[in-house]
């Protein structure tokens, strides 16, 4: 009896369900993906081009490029199909068609350069001429990033098909310019920087959808292409510092001589003086008190008034005023510092999401 037989049976039992699942998946799979069809057409077109069967190559390549959506060729294969189609049309002596295809390739990928080992020099020269006469840019930006306005910047790299002048602005959805980013020439590539601030340079634009618009101009200063890179700006939450409370009254000294102490010395004199005047009518009614008492009462009252005036009620106290001013100045400095720091925090992190760039050609392709 084989001692390994039970182990082999167990392995077989485990493999059977897996094989069954693979078989069912194979039955459920589509017969052939459209992308594979486009790729196959591209491969056949390239072979036809290599065999100098240009009519067949043109048909196959156009069929490969005609696929859309999920069936469409990936960008690199699309560029390959376009350059082969342009070369095919050029060699079929259809220059207009070749030019249109080459321009389409330039607009899709300004950085594309045909392989010098694959295509003949006349095709390379032709494509170079089309590229030079087709000013266009594409943009590459991080899909999702965050910057601190004023100190950091969003970097957008522009790639140009040829040397030309561009104007780059940040604008709202309705076209209102928020900030001018660049005006000048571009050769191969250029980095645009936006520091997150609006045209005043003091604050970030409010949350919303914006777009970086790069306008390409030809030598005649005509707008030949507009690249629009959508951006969504989202302000980060800001935690502000509380403002310091003004100096407490207990810390402030009276800036003027208070009335209270003056009244406290006036009252005893006035009360005693008044008492001397009126007490005879209270203590000894129906008696004619001596008028000389008014001399004593008046003396007491006058001394009380002099004491009142000696306190200079209401007079300013320069030392106390200076002390209070020092406290208030320190408080104002703290308020200003907090305001400055809050302003910095208000320019806190700004989230920026970039969408897919769109290239517009006012004059048509």
């Amino acid at each position: 009896m084989d001692p390994h037989r039970p182990e082999t049976d167990r392995r077989m039992k485990r493999a059977l369900p897996l094989l069954a699942a693979l078989w069912l998946a194979a039955l459920a799979a589509p017969p052939a993906a459209p992308a594979q069809t486009a790729a196959a057409a591209l491969a056949q077109g390239v072979r036809a081009y290599d065999d100098l069967e240009f009519d067949a190559a043109a048909g196959l390549l156009r069929r490969a490029l005609a696929a859309e959506g999920a069936a469409a060729l990936p960008p690199a294969d699309a560029a390959r199909a376009l350059i082969y189609l342009a070369a095919t049309e050029f060699l079929r002596e259809r220059p207009d068609s070749a030019r249109a295809v080459a321009r389409r390739l330039v607009l899709a990928n300004p950085r594309f350069r045909p392989d010098e080992l694959v295509f003949p020099p006349q095709v390379l020269t032709f494509y170079e001429e089309v590229r030079r006469t087709t000013p266009a840019v594409i943009a590459r930006a991080p899909a999702d990033t965050a910057i601190r306005p004023g100190t950091e910047a969003l970097a957008v790299r522009l790639y140009a098909s040829t040397f030309h002048d561009v104007t780059a602005t940040l604008a709202t959805e309705d076209g209102r310019v928020v900030r001018n980013l660049y005006t000048g020439p571009i050769s191969d590539s250029l980095d645009l920087h936006w520091n997150g601030l609006d045209s005043t340079g003091t604050g970030s634009p409010p949350n919303g959808r914006y777009a970086i618009t790069v306008t390409s101009r030809d030598r005649g200063r005509r707008v030949v292409r507009i690249l629009r890179l959508p951006l969504e700006v989202v302000q980060g939450r800001v935690d502000t510092l509380p403002y310091p409370a003004p100096p407490a009254d207990s810390l402030l000294l009276p800036e003027r001589q208070p009335l209270g102490p003056a009244l406290r010395v006036l009252a005893p004199g006035a009360i005693a003086g008044l008492a001397i005047a009126v007490l005879p009518s209270v203590v000894a009614r129906n008696e004619d008190a001596s008028g000389a008492r008014f001399a004593v009462g008046g003396t007491v009252t006058i001394v009380g008034i002099v004491a009142f005036l000696s306190h200079h009620p209401g007079r300013s106290i320069p030392g106390n005023a200076a002390h209070n001013q020092t406290l208030r100045d320190a408080w104002r400095r703290e308020v200003a510092e907090v305001a400055r720091r809050n302003a910095e925090r208000a320019r806190g992190m700004v989230g920026i999401r970039a969408g897919a760039p769109v290239l517009l050609t006012p004059e048509g392709p």
């Binding site: 406290r264 009252a267 004199g269 008492a275 203590v283 001596s290 007491v300 009380g304 004491a307």
Partner: protein, 220 residues
Amino acid sequence: MSRALVIAWAAALSAPALAVQLHAQARWEVSVGASGAQEIVRSRPDTTRERRSGLVFTGEAVATRGRRLVARVRYGQGRVTADTGTPPSPRRNVVEGEALFGYKVRPWLTLWVGPHARTFVVTGLSDRRWLFWSGRATARGGLFPGVESFLELWQGFTGTLSRPAGSASGGGAEAGLELRLARRPLWARLGYRIEQGRANGGPRETVEAFTLTVGYVPLR
């Protein structure tokens, strides 16, 4: 009268010596003073009115123990003569005194209790003495450092008049200014005093006094 005056002045002069002894025993503050007063006495023995005036000299001593307890003794003697009447009524000698015990309920307020007497002496007649047991309140307020005003009110709880004999009621007030020198144990007081005694039988006597007192604080 001369004997009483001698006794009064002897008491005033012996006060410093007594004060030294008191100070040695406890925390006492003693003050003595002498005053001269122009007194005006208005009498209504019946339906008639008499007005007399004259000088009365008084000695006083005030002893304070701690911050609360205080005692005051005053003795004065003088003579008043009639300002009205024809012929003028005979002159009167005046003897007055008080012995009060007080309690300072506040630094500025003192309550007193004690006897208070005034005697008019007329030659050939028996003495006419007003005696009251009274309660008093004295309030003080500072005007300047060392300068205070004061107001004192008193009311007799019970009283007697010797001639005509009978019970009496009375009350009075005193107010003025007191000055204490900062670096010297001296003080002075300018005051106005008015008091009235009323006997049940009808006689009534009102005394006004303008006083000027100088004092000395042998112990502080």
